[in-house]
Assembly symmetry: C2
Homo-oligomer: 334 residues x 2
């Protein structure tokens, strides 16, 4: 069975390939009669355009690259599901496809395969921006439109969508301080991510506004895995005396923290208060249920995707950003 191309259709109908192309795209008016014959031939031959050829000819791919987390994080990250759902829904609506990349950065970034090719994408969505993010640098250098989910280092030149993380952590710390807590451990993310700076800033500001001070030793940097949260926190319990509250950078870490607290017979909320961030299903079903910062992940994904499409299609040129309000959902852990 020979391949059915636009040429096959053109021959069958007795017109040029150009006419078939125009009839199908609607970019030029083709007479009703010819169009009908073309459509009939397309149907009979079961012709389906080669997207690859179309991409090359039009230098437009209708594809967006999504740069996500490392896979071991994806496995435990419910927050990701919701961001992803928002992205998929909007891009589907706008007729864009998704090319999914996980983060596989290592020492030899230079040889990273994804970075050494011009991927066939019209734009990129970058999650979890790092300080001096290699992906962002690469994308910028290649002049590919992009939107960051999170707050990038170079705010002036970037479009981005983020939750107001600083305000969120300010609210969380403030809430605990007002309840009388003075020594709050912050289980922050890895220092390489810009979000970790934002969290610390909110936390610090709450102490400051209440005329109190904190110690940098109360702030720990951990990987995004439950086991990691558990291990690091088990040590923290020994090494940081007399703390009375914990704020974590996501729900998964909170699960690890709560497991360590249970093991050490430190009742929550009786002796220790815990606040997480993410407000995923986990926080509702955990016993005790977990007070958590809601950051509207679905909306973040959807807004970022919308913004990206606007940037790709040049409806937006000047860098802009959207900051989504967060709110604290109180549950049993505080």
């Amino acid at each position: 069975m020979p391949k059915v191309t636009i040429e096959t259709v053109a021959k069958k109908v007795g017109v040029s390939a150009a006419t078939v192309s125009y009839a199908l795209s609607g970019k030029r008016k083709i007479s009703r009669e010819v169009t009908d014959r073309i459509l009939k031939a397309v149907d009979e031959l079961d012709y389906r355009p080669s997207i690859t050829a179309r991409n090359l000819a039009s230098s437009k791919t209708w594809t967006v690259g999504l740069y996500a987390s490392p896979t071991q994080n994806i496995r435990e990250d419910y927050f990701f599901n919701n961001i992803l759902a928002g992205i998929i829904d909007i891009l589907h609506e706008k007729k864009y496809q998704i090319h999914l990349y996980a983060d596989y950065l290592n020492e030899d970034n230079k040889d990273h395969p994804d970075l050494n090719m011009t991927q066939p994408i019209d734009g990129a969505l970058i999650m979890n921006p790092r300080i001096n993010d290699v992906y962002i640098q690469h994308i910028m250098q290649r002049n590919i439109p992009f939107v960051v989910i999170g707050t990038p280092d170079e705010r002036e030149n970037s479009f981005y969508v983020d939750a107001d993380i600083t305000a969120g952590y300010y609210a969380a710390a403030n809430y605990l301080i007002r309840k009388g807590h003075r020594k709050i451990i912050l289980m922050n993310g890895s220092a390489e991510y810009t979000q970790s700076k934002q969290r610390k800033a909110g936390y610090a500001l709450a102490y400051q506004d209440n005329g109190l001070s904190f110690n940098n030793e109360w702030i720990l940097n951990v990987q995004m895995l439950e086991e990691e949260g558990y291990q690091v926190f088990k040590r923290a319990i020994e090494e940081i005396p007399d703390f009375s509250a914990v704020i974590t950078f996501n729900d998964t870490i909170a699960v690890g923290v709560l497991r360590a607290l249970k093991e050490k017979n430190l009742p929550v909320p009786g002796k220790i208060a815990v606040i997480s961030a993410g407000n995923t299903m986990i926080t509702r079903i955990h016993a005790p249920s977990i007070t958590s910062l809601d950051m509207s992940p679905y909306d973040m994904g959807a807004k970022a995707a919308e913004l990206l499409v606007d940037v790709i299609e040049k409806r937006r040129i000047q860098p802009s950003h959207t900051i989504i309000q967060t709110h604290l959902v109180e549950r049993e852990s505080t």
Copy 2:
């Protein structure tokens, strides 16, 4: 800044584009000296090949289409994360990219955009196969290599990877029957999915092997959402008298079921035993923790991806399949 193409590099070095292509791909030996000059020029010009042009010329895209669930399911489906992680890891290792499609099927399947184009993919991974699956039919018709994650209707002509769901549900029902339960509600998935048949088969076989019978009214079909599980089960509690156990088709549904049971003051496991499937983090942190069927989602994804690459690269031609053993993890809910 003019675009840097293979022609730019060739001119700069004083060789043909073909030579540059061969030097870069290694498909033909190019002298050490020329190769070095080419590599130097590539570096200086920051040349990066156009994948789109390469795709068209070689009719190979190094891209796999992943047909996933509807987004509202993805939002609540932790199982998906693990399958996805397995897929991503293997495909990254094998140098394939991922094109992600969510399921947006509706009545007018014919006009489904994803189905009316030849997507630039070398192969497809299809999750949650339906009975008479439109995606599978489409992919088969286009002669695109594919692997189903789950068990497709047409087993003879398909490659697929699945957990032994029938054995798993047999084990779950058997376990409950041996504990004295006689009336077990099966919260099954939507009847359009092939997996729902497998679950019912395992459940039915357990009754049969124990010389007992069940009633079809004890088997309910629900959508993959926590709220749905809750709503449907709340009604079931009224309408199905004297049941003593429940098996659900995933962890999320179990959460809904347990919420309904709690609301109706039916203690678990005191009065009702509950078994879920998926064994995601949810089952460990729920109170009570949930006995669950482990189905190794990461391995399923990884094995399916490996198989697909073998099929694409013609190391496997004859349809084959891998069935992964399941095992029941006992927790507090039984």
